[in-house]
Structures are given as structure tokens and as C-alpha cells.
């Protein structure tokens, strides 16, 4: 096994960058594949081997890898969230948290007026979004040139975005459009209290899953 020259490494990076690989995980795995293959072949064969690898990891193959990884990680995050939400599996502490959640649900429905629930809801949105964006900054890239991002982080941030948009449409919009009149409707108030509690529980599970995700290992 030989050591790769800086020119060979440059060739690989140039090729991989031209593929606009979306996720760091895919970039790193393909990069390692290129390097290991070249390390096991004589330097003189490098251009031929690289050309073969370029055919193997063609644009469509890489895009499919990005897509498949996204689907699989999304599934993994959902399973982790559901596992976390099974409070009966967390022992006495889990049971206590479960009962506390139930109590919060009842308090929300019967004590807090809808106008104040909206504030709690908005605060929970802001806190969740801020917390997750802070923990998962590696999912964001404000660079004008393409940069791969972490798939797991991006999946979590997408879920926050979907949840908040959904809640905004089913709660905030009707309230704004009816200038608050809809809040006097008891059914609407109960529905919204339920939605708030569920969104808070969902957000907590996302924060826990996000904090357990592996840290970004390497960015090219």
C-alpha cells in the first residue's frame, strides 16, 4: 500500500466537488473509496483507475446515494423519536415524565386561555428552533460555493421546519384571519391546546435525538 501524492488527492477532491455531493457522509465514504483503491494500485495506473472510479461514481449514482441516505436517516430519526416517546420504557423517571405531560395537557386545556396558549406555542417554536440550530449548525451552509452538509443534522432541522409550518397554518393563521374570534370557540381551543402539547412533546423528542446524533467528523 502506497501513500497518495498531493496531486492525486487534488484530482479526487476536484472530481468529488464537481459532483455537488449534498451530504458530508456520502462525500467522505466516496473519498475513502477513491483513496483506498488508489493506495492499492501502482502510481503509474492512477489516471486510468481514477477514470474508472469516475464512471463507477457517476452523477446519477452519487445523486441516488444522497437520496437513499436521506430517506434512511429520516427513518432512523423517526424510530429514535418514537423510542424516546415510549416513556414506559424509561423506568420510574419516564413514568413520572409521562404523568407530568398528561397533567400539562389537562392544565393547558382547562386553565390557560387560548390567547396565552399561542404565546406558549410560539415560545416553544422559537426555543426548539434556536436549540436545534445551535446544536446542528453543520446542517447549514451560507457559502456561495457548494459545500456538503451533515444529513442527520439537516433531517432534524427539516422536521422542525415542517412541524412549525404545520402548526402555524392550523393555529396561528385561523387566529389571525378571524382576528382572534375563533379562540372563543371551545372546540378550537381544546384542539389547539392538544396540538400545542403534542408539538412540545415532539420538539423535546427531536432535541433529544439531535443531541445524540454523532458530531460532524470532517468537512472537505
Amino acid at each position: 500500500m502506497r501513500k497518495l501524492s498531493s496531486q492525486e488527492l487534488e484530482w479526487i477532491h476536484t472530481r468529488l466537488k464537481s459532483l455537488y455531493i449534498r451530504y458530508t457522509e456520502v462525500y467522505e465514504e466516496i473519498f475513502d473509496h477513491y483513496c483506498t483503491t488508489l493506495e492499492n494500485t501502482p502510481a503509474i495506473d492512477s489516471p486510468v483507475i481514477i477514470a474508472k472510479l469516475n464512471e463507477t461514481f457517476a452523477w446519477s449514482v452519487v445523486k441516488n446515494m444522497d437520496k437513499e441516505l436521506e430517506t434512511n436517516v429520516s427513518k432512523q430519526v423517526l424510530v429514535a423519536q418514537l423510542d424516546y416517546l415510549k416513556f414506559w420504557n424509561h423506568g420510574i423517571k419516564g413514568l413520572l415524565i409521562g404523568f407530568a405531560g398528561f397533567a400539562v395537557l389537562n392544565i393547558s386545556i382547562f386553565i390557560i386561555p387560548p390567547s396565552e396558549l399561542i404565546i406558549i406555542f410560539l415560545l416553544s417554536i422559537i426555543c426548539t428552533a434556536a436549540g436545534i440550530f445551535f446544536m446542528k449548525r453543520d446542517a447549514l451552509s451560507f457559502s456561495l460555493t457548494h459545500k456538503s452538509v451533515s444529513v442527520s443534522s439537516l433531517t432534524v432541522i427539516k422536521k422542525v421546519g415542517i412541524l412549525n409550518t404545520l402548526m402555524m397554518w392550523i393555529w396561528v393563521m385561523p387566529t389571525v384571519l378571524t382576528r382572534g374570534d375563533i379562540q372563543s370557540n371551545k372546540l378550537f381551543a381544546i384542539g389547539m391546546a392538544l396540538a400545542t402539547v403534542l408539538s412540545i412533546i415532539y420538539s423535546i423528542s427531536l432535541i433529544v435525538v439531535a443531541s445524540n446524533l454523532p458530531k460532524k467528523s470532517h468537512v472537505q
Partner: protein
Amino acid sequence: MSNNNLIKGSLQTIILKLLEENERMYGYEITQRVKELTAGEIKITEGALYPALHKLEAEGLLSTDIQQVDNRVRKYYSLTNDGQKEVTSKMSELQGFVENLQRILTPDLKPGFNI
């Protein structure tokens, strides 16, 4: 015989079986091991291998660990407890299929023939 369509259906079983025998492996290593075991007759395409590895990981059959190798990251795959159980079931499923296929292709073969 190097038929990609035939390999496609058994790729997950191949990966699980190799990991059962090798504790932990990375992508390139898997492709090379298959090549070596089949004297180059079967070649796993990387475009199918990596998505299959990611799918098995998402299903909880494989776990991964990342290691730094010469200034780059290498992802090693290994079997989880569920993965260990899955190897046995996938292997008997595949063996049963091959056995039935043999019966179809060579009807004179005695029932209970094992590969």
C-alpha cells in the same frame, strides 16, 4: 457468471454474511472480499453497495463506527444483535430458494438436496 440482476436480490445477504465472518468492514473492503472469494466472477457495484449498507444501518441491522485514517474518515460497519439474528434467517431463506431453483432446473434432483 456475473449477472447483476441475480446479485441484486442477494446483496443484503452477502453483506450480512461477510460481516458475520469479519466482525467489521468498510465499503472498499467488502467489494474486494467478494472479488477475492469469487475469483473476480462476482463484482459488487459501489452504487448498489453503499445504499444497501445505509439501508441495513437504518433498519438497525448494522452499526457503524468512524475512524480517522491518514487524514480522512473511514466508516466501518458491523453487525448489531438484530443483524446477527437476521443473518441466520436470510441465509436459510436464500438456501431454500437456491434449493427450489435447483429442483426446477434439474427435476431429477432428489428432494432434500442441500447446497
